[in-house]
Amino acid sequence: MTESRGTRIALKAATAFVLGFLYLPLVILVIYAFNSSRIQSWPPQGFTLHWFGEALNNPQVRTAIINSLTVATVATAVALVLGTLAALAVQRYSFFGRDTISFLLVVPIALPGVVTGIALQTSFVTLGVDFGLLTIVVGHATFCVVIAYNNVIARLRRLPRSPEEASADLGADMFTSFRRITLPSMGTALLSGALLAFALSFDEIIVTNFTAGASTQTVPLFIFTAIQRPTELPVVNVVAFVLILVSVIPVYIATRISGGESAGKL
C-alpha cells in the first residue's frame, strides 16, 4: 500500500497523539512516585526512593497487597474451571437450549460492573453472607470466567477433533481423552486466559467496591480511599506504579504466549 507524503505524516502524528494520550498520565504518575516533595507540583523537587520505603512499611498497603494477590489467585482458579467447562459444553456438544444457555451465560458478563456489584451486594445482604475475601472472589469470578471462556473456546474451534476420536476409538473413556488429549492442547490458551484474568482481578474496583464490605481492602480500594487524603498521595503514586507493573507483566506474557490469537479480546 502506498500513501502520499501528507497521509504518512498525518498518520504518524495521529499515532503519536494517541500514544501520548495513553502514556503521558502514566509517565507523570511514575515521575511523582520518585519526587522528593510531598506536594505534587511541577517541576519535581528531586529524586528519592523514600516513598517506596514508606509504602512498604505501611501495614495497610501490605494487607491490601496480600488480599489482592489472594483474591486474584482464587478468582482465576475458579474462572479457569468454570470457563473451560462452559466452553467445552457450548463448543463440543449440541443440546436442547444450547443457544439460550450461551446467551444466558453472556448476559451477566456483559452487564456493567455497577449492576453486577449492586446485585451481588443486595444478594449477599439478603442471604446473610458476611462481606470479606470470599464475596470479593465471587464478584471477580463473574468477569474472569468470560476471559477463560473466550480463550478456551477460541482454541477449541481451531483444534482438530481427530486426536480425540482416535483416543476414543482406542478405548479411552471421556475423562482419559480429556486429560491426555484435550487438556494438553489447550495448555497455552488456559495460561494466557489465567494471566489476563489475574491482571483484571488485581486492578478491579467497580465490583469490588460493592462486595468488599467495610473492613477488607484490596490494592485498588486502598488507592481510591487514600487518594482523598493529600498527605498520602506520594504513597499512592508508589502503589499505583507497582500496580501498573504487576498488571502489565502478565498481560505482556499472555500476548506473547498466545501469539495474539485471542489475548487482546476481553
Binding site: 450461551s102 446467551f103 453472556v106 448476559v107 456483559a110 452487564l111 456493567p112 460492573g113 455497577v114 449492576v115 456489584g117 449492586i118 446485585a119 451486594q121 443486595t122 473466550n150 473456546i153 474496583i205 467497580i206 467496591n209 460493592f210 481510591f224 487518594i227 479480546k265 476481553l266
Partner: protein
C-alpha cells in the same frame, strides 16, 4: 466486522456503568454514579430501579448482536 460488534459490547458496557472514573476526573453524574451514590446513601430501592436502565440497554444490545450472528464469532 462481527468481532468488532462483539468487542463493542464489552467496551460499551464497561463505560456505561463506570462510576469511579467520572468521580475522579469530573463533577458530572452518570448512570453508574446515581446507582452507586444511592446505594451508599441507603436508598437501595432507587438504586435497584435505576440499575434496570443499563440492564435493559445491554439486553437489547446483546439481542441485536445475536441477530447479526456475532456470537458465533465470539
Amino acid at each position: 466486522m462481527l468481532i468488532g460488534a462483539v468487542l463493542s459490547i464489552f467496551t460499551f458496557s464497561l463505560t456505561l456503568g463506570d462510576y469511579i472514573t467520572p468521580d475522579l476526573v469530573s463533577d458530572a453524574k452518570f448512570i453508574g454514579n446515581v446507582i452507586y451514590d444511592n446505594s451508599t446513601l441507603g436508598n437501595l430501592p432507587l438504586a435497584a430501579a435505576y440499575s434496570l436502565i443499563p440492564i435493559v440497554i445491554m439486553v437489547v444490545y446483546l439481542l441485536a448482536a445475536r441477530r447479526l450472528g456475532a456470537f458465533e464469532s465470539l
